[in-house]
Amino acid sequence: MDVRAIAYVMGMTDRVALLLRRAGFGPTAGELDVARRDGAEATAARMTARAVRDHDSHDLSILDLGPDADSFLPDNPQPADRTTALKLRKQQSDLLLRWWLDRMVIAGDQVGEKLVFFWHGHWATALKKVSSPQMMLRQQRVFREAADFAAMSRAMVTDPALLYWLDGHLNSKDAPNENFARELMELFMLGIGNYSERDVKEAGRALTGYWVDFVHTRSVFNKDAHDGSKKTILGKTSGFSPAELINHFLSRRACPEFIAARLWFRFASSTTPPPPDVKARMVAAFPDPRAMLRALFLHEAFAATAGTMVKQPVEWFAGALRQLSVRPKDFSDSVFAHMYSGLNRMGQLPLQPPSVGGWPHGIAWLTPAAAQARLDVASKLAELTDVGVRTPDDLARVLAVDIWTNRTFAALKGVKDVRQMLTLGLCSPEYLVS
């Protein structure tokens, strides 16, 4: 066994690099240098600080999508008018996606940006059904602006995109549907096993009375359609308004534990559950997600999770763009279309989670079909960048890879062409797993 292999077996993982890879989308060589100088603790504290000041850039302000496409329709719309509206809707949707991808790449506050992506997967809502990019953007503002998980939950219970996605706009006092209530408990706030079927039915009643106003991008509460009568939910009997329901869930012990476990699952390890001590520290920091992450990153158990996460395609993509200094804002239309299709084929098009359960994890991303799409996207990225690399060591530095295995080192050694080298590096098993 040579030195390289020994280093591998010894688990010579760079703690600082691991932190940066997990806390953000993929560190640049410059960011890694700064973090190494400061050390893991100081870096974790800085990145998760409550008021990280981002650099002042117009590109970081909230996008203005303009009004809903249907609001331009004349009174008696003809098929041609509908086609025009559909086109505009698609343009607005693409604009939103491009803006978001660009933010992932340029945001200085990487923890904040990665959390937005996390919450998108947590409250997984798909544009495909919602159809309004304005409502998707509005939902994203909640992820960006809510002070903590408590404030976010209170906003999400009336979020028009989420309501529409889970048929909440059709949920009325006469015969409530329980779709929203079930997912609120199972997937968003408490986790499976922490409620009964009776609780689901009763909570469904508490959520009655909303409708969705697409033109004004908002939900409207109709008191007459709301069931204000007594309900018993998780042992408490009350009239339960939607807000009261959320507060009730927030007060349950299961809630912080569930959120801690979900954060651990996406930032630390999707293969092993959080050790009790980490979980307890994260729960103590609830409902502030940054503080919960800080507790996670500063815990010794975090370093032990190296090698247990497969990068999600969007993490892989945004990280590569950061390291190669390529911005989605600068994509030509044809490059954008190429990347759109690539993300789709890799299985992760932002704004389009496959279901309310959010994105897959782990080996699910490692299918042969995804491998093929990845090669294609990687080679396109390699074509777009000006970043040059000459040796495997250069490449490891640019891509923030700790060390190449003998396998990949051998694969890279004979390669002279920069583009080929970058493509192989981006597709290497070492780069895909963090």
Binding site: N171, N177, G307, V310, N344, P354, P360, I363, R407, L424
Partner: protein
């Protein structure tokens, strides 16, 4: 309505993940699978055993609008606006009828080749899509298991990869064992970007000492990719090429096993006709989670299902190998008896299972659950799902169900006429 897709089931389930890592679940090329044709059953598999095809309906299909109790006043009372009108159902007796969108299954019923089993479920129903589907596929209603019952059988006989096959990108829990797993078959060939050779890709796919399990799995995915490519090229030259033209066109957006059911079933049919020794196939159709505006949407989906099943059944009757095929159609749960205000239904409990094939003795195999004697608004099961699986294990695979599903006393159902 589309909030739960098949994909998510497969991916959300812890079962597929864990087991697939252990087994290094293979992505098999269709042509590679076809090359196994004529090999005969592997060691440990009864040479006289038949072929099982599982059709999984993801999302919780509304059983009451599939197998309709069209004379029951309680049915119409519970679902004003959502009930199937009596004159539109395809009657199978004086109480029950199939949804009007299912003439194919009705033909099978008339030919006495369709077993209808109403009210199939399990104790203490769980209304989470994900947990309930795991219960069906692992065969364990109480204990959380990480293997499917077919996967446990694959483990026991150390089955080769082609023994159980899914035409999806991701392995369903049903086919996941501890050591072995079914194969996910893809039919797409490989197109590499300019400047990247398959030799380069192969070099990324080599094993490296001391790397993490996930990293090794990432490397493996490049090997799988190349294997498919090599086989496609080989097959284009070899005898298997003759089979290729009959391959169904995959939808243009085939991004992740999301091909429609009829395409999946034609691939199954092709393999069976070619004499591939696969014992268990898994195919699926998603989109049954209809909390709102259900009537027409479900009818459309049932129509798709029926067309695909009808065509498959016709095709199977034309070949010798097809005569040993038994198809089982199920969903993770039925829906609530009462419609909700959105003209949809919420998650419920027991639902009908359909089994058909040349060896199936057509008929009704259980009482339909009462619509008035309910368990908190939900149907009470009249058949345990494990008895249905037990029957096909005994009669089709020729294996003892007790060995692969524990903690259940199997009742004989006798809907299959195997000797």
């Amino acid at each position: 309505m589309d909030t739960v897709t098949r994909r998510r089931f497969l991916l959300a389930s812890g079962v597929a993940g864990g087991a697939a890592i252990v087994s290094g679940a293979v992505g098999l090329g269709l042509n590679e699978l076809l090359e196994t044709a004529g090999r005969g059953r592997a060691d440990g598999i009864d040479p006289g055993s038949g072929t099982l095809v599982f059709v999984t309906l993801y999302g919780g299909n509304d059983g009451l609008n599939t197998l309709v109790p069209y004379t029951d006043k309680a049915y119409y009372a519970a679902r004003p606006g959502l009930a199937c009108p009596a004159d539109q159902v395809l009657k199978i007796n004086d109480r029950l009828g199939l949804n009007g969108a299912m003439p194919g299954l009705k033909r099978l019923w008339d030919a006495k080749r369709l077993a209808v089993i109403p009210g199939v479920g399990y104790p203490k129903p769980d209304r989470s899509h994900f947990r309930s589907m795991d219960i069906w596929q692992t065969g364990s209603p109480s204990e959380v298991l990480t293997t499917g019952w077919v996967g446990r059988w694959l483990d026991a006989i150390e089955a080769p990869a082609e023994t159980a096959v899914s035409f999806e990108n991701v392995l369903p829990p049903l086919l996941a064992g501890q050591k072995r797993a079914g194969a996910c078959v893809s039919v797409n060939g490989l197109k590499l970007p300019k400047g990247i050779s398959s030799k380069m890709v192969a070099s990324l796919g080599r094993a490296a000492g001391g790397e993490s399990e996930l990293q090794a799995r990432a490397a493996q995915s490049y090997n799988d990719l190349l294997r498919v490519e090599g086989l496609v090229q080989q097959a284009a030259k070899g005898p298997a090429a003759a089979v290729l033209p009959s391959q169904p066109a995959r939808p243009a957006t085939a991004t992740g096993g999301d091909s429609v059911l009829s395409a999946q079933l034609s691939q199954v049919a092709m393999c069976i006709e070619a004499g591939v020794p696969t014992s268990v196939y898994s195919v699926s159709l998603g989109g049954f989670d209809m909390h709102a505006d259900e009537l027409e949407a479900q009818q459309r989906l049932l129509g798709q299902l029926d067309t695909a099943l009808g065509a498959f059944s016709d095709r199977m009757q034309r070949t010798d190998a097809g005569r040993n095929v038994v198809v089982v159609v199920y969903s993770e749960f039925g829906r609530r008896v009462r419609a909700n205000a959105s003209q949809g239904t919420d998650h419920g409990t027991a639902g009908p299972v359909f089994v058909f094939g040349p060896a199936v003795k057509g008929g009704l195999y259980a009482e339909h659950p009462s619509l008035t004697d309910l368990d908190d608004g939900d149907l009470k099961r009249t058949t345990d799902y494990r008895d249905v699986f037990g029957e096909v294990m005994r009669a089709v695979l020729k294996i003892e169900p007790e060995r692969y599903i524990s903690g259940h006393k199997f009742a004989e159902m006798n809907f299959i006429a195997y000797e």
